[in-house]
């Protein structure tokens, strides 16, 4: 019986997962979470990567395949091992989920293959692993923009913050609270919310009692929309400056346009808001192909994969040559220019977008260039 199962497993593997890689082909696996609680962001990553790879020059002979990393490090590591078993990839599109990335990094280092990610987890680029390349600005960039906007543009003195209990939320909280404190406008209220929290009125009731002049959010997509809707329904009309989840078209879609009046968000980019022809072209193609609007994660992954394509075009043949090209060159992408800071942080700009209360498409209000950790 066990023997039969072993044979069946081998047959299934041969049938479903043939080793089709040829000597002259460049193999780029796309390992992202398309199911589970990060499926929204993971799907955006997948779509951005596919859109870039499908437009690569034919002579580069790029082959790619998508594997779901779901929600656990074990699944991500299995997907990585399986991808590596097919042959040496030129580079790998890697998951946005920081916990999975932490588990994948040592394996990528042993295999000498670069991981191209949009994960914001600060720790990833602090481990001296030369095979991580992050194409989305980390919290040391976007939280500076977040704080500068409320300080310089809104002139707020009494900020209140709601953040997520997850690693994502903790990272944003620590950067934001430190920056605000250093600039003489410490938080007057702060509360951590688990992603499972549904009723936001208790938090808003306490927040209102602290008499803030601006509400800051660092939450995932659904909690961001829940807080904004409940705040507006409760008559709280304070300006809200949210994290990058609020720039996502799928978050804005949950709210009425008038509920978005006075709401802004920090992000790397907002493809649907851009007036640049190249970005408009990208957005149009993306909508046509995937029947949904792109967000900053899709654009960042698109740019990341295009930088890998640029490395291959410039003559990089092996994974280590691709890695070295990524580490030493500057690439002008659609969202921004990317250059490694020596640790794999490629994105150093941030954008503030705001809604006018009439449409669900935000307008780009401020761009902050090269703001790594500097207020």
């Amino acid at each position: 019986m066990i023997r039969l199962l072993q044979v069946l497993t081998i047959l299934i593997n041969i049938t479903l997962f043939p080793v089709w890689l040829k000597a002259d082909e460049s193999y780029i696996p796309i390992l992202v979470p398309v199911t589970g609680f990060l499926s929204l962001e993971g799907t955006a990553q997948r779509n951005g990567a596919i859109q870039a790879l499908d437009k690569a020059p034919i002579n580069l002979n790029i082959k790619y395949e998508v594997s779901d990393t779901a929600t656990s490090p074990e699944v991500a590591v299995t997907a990585l091992h399986r991808a590596l078993s097919r042959g040496q990839p030129a580079a790998i599109a890697a998951p946005i989920f920081g916990t999975q990335m932490l588990a994948m990094l040592p394996i990528a280092k042993r295999a000498s293959v670069a991981l191209i990610t949009v994960s914001g987890t600060a720790k990833l680029t602090e481990l001296n692993n030369p095979f991580i390349f992050r194409f989305f600005p980390g919290d040391s960039v976007v939280k500076v923009a977040h704080a500068r906007y409320i300080h310089e543009v809104l002139g707020a003195k009494r900020p209140a913050l709601l953040y997520q209990t997850t690693a994502y939320g903790q990272s944003g909280y620590s950067h934001l609270s430190r920056i605000l404190k250093e600039n003489g406008t410490p938080l007057v209220f702060e509360e951590a919310l688990a992603p499972s929290v549904k009723d936001m009125l208790p938090a808003l009731t306490k927040l209102k009692a602290s008499n803030p002049d601006v509400i800051l959010l660092h939450l995932h997509s659904t909690p961001t929309a829940l807080v904004i809707r409940q705040a507006r329904n409760s008559g709280i009309e304070l300006p809200i400056v949210a994290g990058s989840a609020m720039h996502q078209p799928s978050t804005a879609r949950l709210l009425k346009a008038d509920q978005l009046r006075g709401v802004c968000a920090e992000t790397a980019a907002s493809p649907i808001s851009e007036l640049n022809n190249e970005v408009i072209k990208f957005t149009t193609e993306y909508k046509k192909r995937f029947a949904t609007a792109p967000d900053a994660f899709a654009l960042a992954q698109y740019d990341g994969m295009n930088m890998v394509i640029a490395a291959l075009k410039s003559g990089a043949k092996t994974a280590i040559e691709v890695r070295n090209w990524l580490a030493t060159n500057t690439f002008k992408g659609l969202a921004m220019s990317y250059k490694s800071d020596g640790k794999g942080n490629m994105a150093h700009d941030a954008t503030i977008v705001c809604y006018d209360g009439k449409t669900r498409i935000p307008k780009i209000i401020q761009r902050y260039l090269n703001v790594d950790g500097v207020f």
Binding site: T35, S39, L40, T43, K198, D199, S221, L226, S250, R253
Partner: protein
Amino acid sequence: MLETGIQLFINGISLGCAYALITLGFVLVINAIGAVNFAQGDLVMAGGFLSVVFAEFIIANNPHPITGVGLFILPLVLIGMACFGLLFSMVTYTPLKSCPPATVFISTIAAGLIIQHGINAGFGPEPQIGPALISSGTLAIGTLTLSKQQIAIIVSASFLILCVGFLMNKTQLGRQLRAAAQDPEVAETIGVNGAQCVALTFSIAIALAGAAGLLLSNQFFITTSDGGLFMLKAYIAVTLGGWGRLDGAVIAAIAIGLFEVIVATLVSYILAEALLFVALLLILLFRPSGLFAEAIQRRT
């Protein structure tokens, strides 16, 4: 201040009522087959998505703008999910009814994952907003201003809970369902069709999950990964209320909703969640049959 307090109380009750619908379905299945339906949370999520589909269809085919179509959709969701419940029992329970309960709950876990990933593949990962039960707005009672939507949730959920109570306690069908749950072999000797009763119980339980999905999908949005959360709350409510007790489960579910809102307001969400799990551990330690006495036990 009083206004906020009452609004918070209503929020807690409305959340608790939705949890109660989920828990009620959960207990009905436990009583009927002696195994936990671990797909109950995913079925709530499926009900939410079904209501989104119905709402989009109705709005797209009506030239006049409609607000608050939820009340019209509620019976459709109940019927649709009840039919799905029959199919669900045929797939996850009937072929395995002679197996140990562990086999059945594993099959329900598998079914839940298939539902979750199937909906993710069909709808995409974006969160969705379900239809409002009634038109949005507020109700003024003296100086109080209350959300109509939440009052509608409380009234709808209470009505469904009372209907289930009436069905189970006051009708011949309910007696048959209870008899088949308590002792299927003896029930069959007096002419009760055990297989039909189990299928019907699944049908009722999953219809209630669908209704909860509709009620929650407008107020709190719905995503394909929400099932686990709903399942967890139902499991805690059943443990607190007593395995097998319908009334205990409903009371515990409403108490959980209220407890979460009150503790989160007075202290923090983190403490509310921590205390909830502490209460669960204490109950498991000192009163494993729940706060209310257990109504039935599986025969050995």
